[in-house]
Symmetry: C2
Subunit: 317 residues, 2 copies
């Protein structure tokens, strides 16, 4: 039985999983720390791939989800947080040279979008937006069943839309981006400011709450925590109305840790989106839903990319 | 010699032009009012097409630029301003039935984008954004040499991005869209408010100036007029920074009447875009330019669409 290998590579850990062709549950899955003493990240990765290599049957393709921007024209990962060794790093070429198998890569947000489209909340849709709300806000766009990359692979940065001109500083250095007002980091910052100003809440300032504690407090009914999630949902909804006008998708998938708050985030999100859309035509047959693949979205997207890579290499000998 | 027929249909007038295959200048071009007594718009259009029909040689395809939203799944023009007779109107099917020739349609902003991409300021680019700044703000997006339509043909509404939350009312009924702060209509409204508040200018309140007079005054050095163009350029620039993050194009083409002010609009636009982009990577090899096809952009886009239609029908017998 031929197989595919999917990789999910982060600054902290790397995961590798082997799947039988057409299967969605791995035959084998392993993870290791990305940085280990006495081994380069490439050596660590190659050993990891070997550890899931099948004893029989061919590996038809390997695909990797990566944490940084990619230049597809040159076939290199430009940079990756916490992997300083990988600068302008030609991962697919290195994998192909080492294992003699077709290889491909994409960034983790794009592959999370592809994963949800192929195996998760977005199955059956051809035009899909995926937004991940965690420390930052990332995104991926599926248009006509393909990932939007743009000219050099830098498209789909859906968290870096200006929603509040001259607003709070964003992780990217600009102001008022969606990420700066609605990410987990932004919600935590707003919670601290609210607590410091004396707004009553079961949240404590010592230590200041992270997004996870705020979500837990919201689930228990804390008014401040709910207001903060609602405000984040509002801005995400306004941004999604803009994205409806731009992309006219049929499916919006919201992932990332903050999305685990479910309707506490999604109800105000939907309300703001519906209030800000220019025509009800954009809402017809539109699905707005949370992601279903959780932390496996990137890995499953890498599997979807491996499937495509195997098919393409088969078609073009 | 085989030919193509391009149509540019507006609420006021319709134009038809016949081109030899591969040529960019028409062999024949005619225009008529869209609404004429005693004739439906369809009859008027059919007569117009007949008036440019060649005496010899085959017409390989007809394509039309239309002023309203299109449902591509159903193949109908949904609505068109000032053409109430055309509601859910299957124009390509009607043209094919009447003339026995492959036919296609798209909206005028999308085809202006395609026209600039094929024959105008965007030649040679594969990822292009076109923004037309006139009474409203429209747009078209070329991704990998194809028009972005979205699931139902409603994508690419680039003027309806929220740039100023709770800002002025937009033509679409929402607030603070780019169109509401930077279109010709918005500039004229701002000029009137400034004049009423007593700001000195060579512009007169009687009658209140339109965007065209403001552009003329700016060209002559009027400080208020220049400030208004600069402010519009600023907001367009902020929106374009967002669009760089979303699409990662290599070419931005600015068309429409307001773009005739050239660098009085484009200099502040470029400055705002560069100040708001999250990484200089997005500016590498980026061309920002005014449109070159002027009022012919839609017609030339229809020619580009007719070329494609002829090729596709040839390939799929």
């Amino acid at each position: 039985m031929d197989t595919l290998i999917a990789l999910d590579i982060g600054g902290t850990q790397m995961r590798a999983a082997r799947f039988a062709l057409g299967a969605h549950t791995p035959q084998e899955i392993r993870k290791v720390p990305t940085q280990t003493p006495g081994s380069t990240p490439e050596e660590t990765l190659f050993h990891l791939v070997e550890s899931v290599w099948p004893s029989g049957g061919a590996v038809r393709a390997i695909a990797a989800a990566l944490p940084g921007p990619i230049d597809f024209q040159q076939g290199v990962l430009l940079t990756a947080p916490n992997i300083p060794q990988w600068r302008d790093y030609p991962l697919p070429a290195r994998l192909e040279a080492r294992f003699g198998v077709p290889a491909a890569m994409d960034n983790d947000a794009n592959l999370a979008a592809l994963g949800e489209w192929r195996f998760g909340a977005g199955r059956g849709h051809h035009y899909l937006l995926y937004l991940t709300i965690s420390t930052g806000i990332g995104g991926g766009v599926i248009l006509n069943d393909h990932i939007l990359h743009g000219a050099r692979g830098l498209a789909g940065e859906l968290g870096h839309l200006t929603v509040l001109p001259d607003g709070p500083l964003c992780g990217c250095g600009q102001r008022g981006h969606l990420e700066a007002v609605a990410s987990g980091t932004a919600i935590a910052r707003q919670a601290r400011a609210a607590l410091e100003s004396g707004i009553p809440s079961e949240l404590s300032l010592h230590p200041p709450p992270a997004a996870k504690q705020i979500a837990e407090a919201a689930a228990k009914g804390d008014a401040l925590a709910r207001e903060l999630l609602a405000q984040a949902g509002y801005y995400i909804g306004v941004a999604l109305a803009d994205y409806l006008h731009i992309f006219n998708p049929t499916c919006l998938v919201i992932g990332g840790g903050v999305s685990r708050s479910g309707d506490l985030l999604l109800d105000p999100l939907r309300a703001a989106m519906q209030a800000h859309v220019m025509s009800p035509e954009y809402l017809k047959n539109l699905t707005v839903t949370t992601a279903t693949l959780g932390d496996n979205a990137g890995l499953m997207g890498a599997l979807a990319l491996a499937e495509r890579t195997a098919l393409e290499k088969q078609a073009a000998p």
